[in-house]
Amino acid sequence: MSAMIIATPWIDFSALWKIIVVGLLAGAGLPALFAVGLRALNFRSGVAVSSDDAHVYGGNPAGLLVGLFCFAVVLAAIGWGIYFIVHSS
């Protein structure tokens, strides 16, 4: 077994790679998902939108659905994050 342990006393590699991988999934993945949601909401309006109604979304029901789903997942992840704070450390 001891040969499998790569952690040294100074750097805990087993924690390090989890922080990097999960950090990438949550820290970069969630903004990316948010971006997908934003893109879906603006599916139709990607052509030319005057700055006045820049935040009037929709026009495409499928896009709206995908967008809302993405935002729901992001919100759920935030909820999980708060749960994580409360139940760790």
Partner: protein
């Protein structure tokens, strides 16, 4: 010797440290939201203040981690704690004056370690814990946050290529507010707990609490209030450096940076690393600047900050040791009072010095001209 009086001074000083911790670190969560206009400056610091207070109550498992993991607690006296706090406050105020986002946690740890060495020698310090739990994470966390933020920034720009600029800016402002709120919450949980741990340690040292006790409710409440008041006051000088000094930030970058910060801070604290929110936030902001085409990253500003980070532990340690010696050599309650008066004098002096180049909610986003301070002529009269 009236140790009740010394205890009272230590508790007041600890809350003062917590307060400096709040305003020194407001920028970690809110600098990008303020810079992109996602939130008006005053609203941003108010939101962050409230979330810091909420964060202080989210997790109650306060152990005196800073002390117990890093120094032999048996060697710690009230005066040692006091000296440590003096080191932490001095370094926090000095770096705030210079507009340098440096780590409040490192300032506190450096101060406590320094005063412990002065009191009981180097053998009273758990050097292995100090390196593996504080120094190594401090070196690793900014590059990790940098990478996460860079990947996030690349992805969000790539995925929203076909979205108009206005719609994108508007959408990501909401994302920014959400992600910055998470960082504020995490900050309240992490940093308020550090002061709670210090006060609890002082109470145990004074035998008001039994060894191994948890923080009493009044400690949790007062620490939460101190850090949230400090946050609300807004460390505008530091906010300015983080939001305007390093990179010119757009809202998609802001969201990527804050999401990266929140993820790295929460994950690391889960594994028991006393990370600096400041180091992580800085790494994230640099990463979001690096990954956007055409964005200018002011590496010289980043370099100056990194230099300050290297000096944080030893400098706060020296002041902590000095503070301990002053109070110890004079001795008794009077020694503690002298140290307290010195700290108040230092704080007042630095505050006066800061008035010359005042930064506030009105001019925090002014064009970057090479330093955090805004020239007196440009500063609004009601600063």
């Amino acid at each position: 010797m009236n140790s009740d009086a010394v205890l009272a001074l230590v508790v007041i000083t600890a809350l003062a440290f917590d307060f400096t911790n709040g305003f020194h670190d407001t920028g970690n969560a809110m600098a990008t939201s303020i810079a992109t206009g996602a939130l008006p400056p005053k609203i941003a610091v108010a939101l962050s203040g409230v979330l810091n207070l909420v964060g202080a109550f989210l997790s109650f498992s306060v152990a005196a981690t800073i002390a117990s993991g890093l120094v032999q607690t048996g060697k710690v006296t009230l005066i040692v704690v006091f000296g440590g706090l003096a080191g932490g406050i001095a370094w926090n105020l000095f770096t705030w004056l210079a507009g340098i986002p440096s780590s409040s946690s490192h300032a506190l740890i450096g101060g406590v370690v320094g005063s412990t060495i002065a009191a009981a020698g180097g053998s009273a310090v758990k050097w292995h814990g100090l390196v593996s739990k504080v120094v190594v994470p401090a070196v690793l966390s900014p590059p990790i946050a940098f990478a996460v933020a860079a990947v996030g920034t690349y992805l969000v720009y790539r995925l929203t290529r076909q979205v108009t600029n206005d719609a994108r800016t508007h959408g990501f402002r909401w994302g920014q507010i959400g992600s910055a709120s998470m960082v504020s919450l995490a900050h309240g949980t992490n940093d308020a707990q550090k002061t709670m741990g210090i006060i609890t340690l002082a109470l145990i040292t004074h035998h008001t609490l039994h060894s191994g006790s948890k923080a009493p409710t009044w400690v949790i409440l007062s620490c939460g209030l101190a850090i949230s008041l400090g946050t609300y006051l807004g460390g505008w000088r530091v906010i300015r450096t983080l939001g305007k000094g390093l990179v010119e930030i757009e809202s998609p970058q802001g969201m990527a940076a804050e999401s990266a910060s929140a993820a790295v801070i929460l994950l690391s604290s889960h594994y028991g690393y006393s990370l600096s929110t400041t180091h992580v936030a800085t790494g994230s902001i640099l990463g979001c600047g690096f990954a956007k085409k055409g964005a200018e990253v002011r590496w010289s500003v980043a370099g100056r900050m990194a230099t300050a980070w290297i000096f944080t532990l030893p400098s706060a340690g020296l002041v902590g040791a000095g503070g301990y010696e002053i109070a110890h050599l004079i001795g008794g309650t009077f020694g503690a009072i002298v140290l307290f008066v010195l700290l108040v004098a230092l704080g007042s002096g630095i505050w006066l010095a800061s008035r010359k180049t005042a930064v506030n909610s009105k001019n925090v986003n002014a064009e970057w001209t090479g330093s955090a301070g805004v020239a007196a002529a440009d500063a609004p009269a009601n600063a």
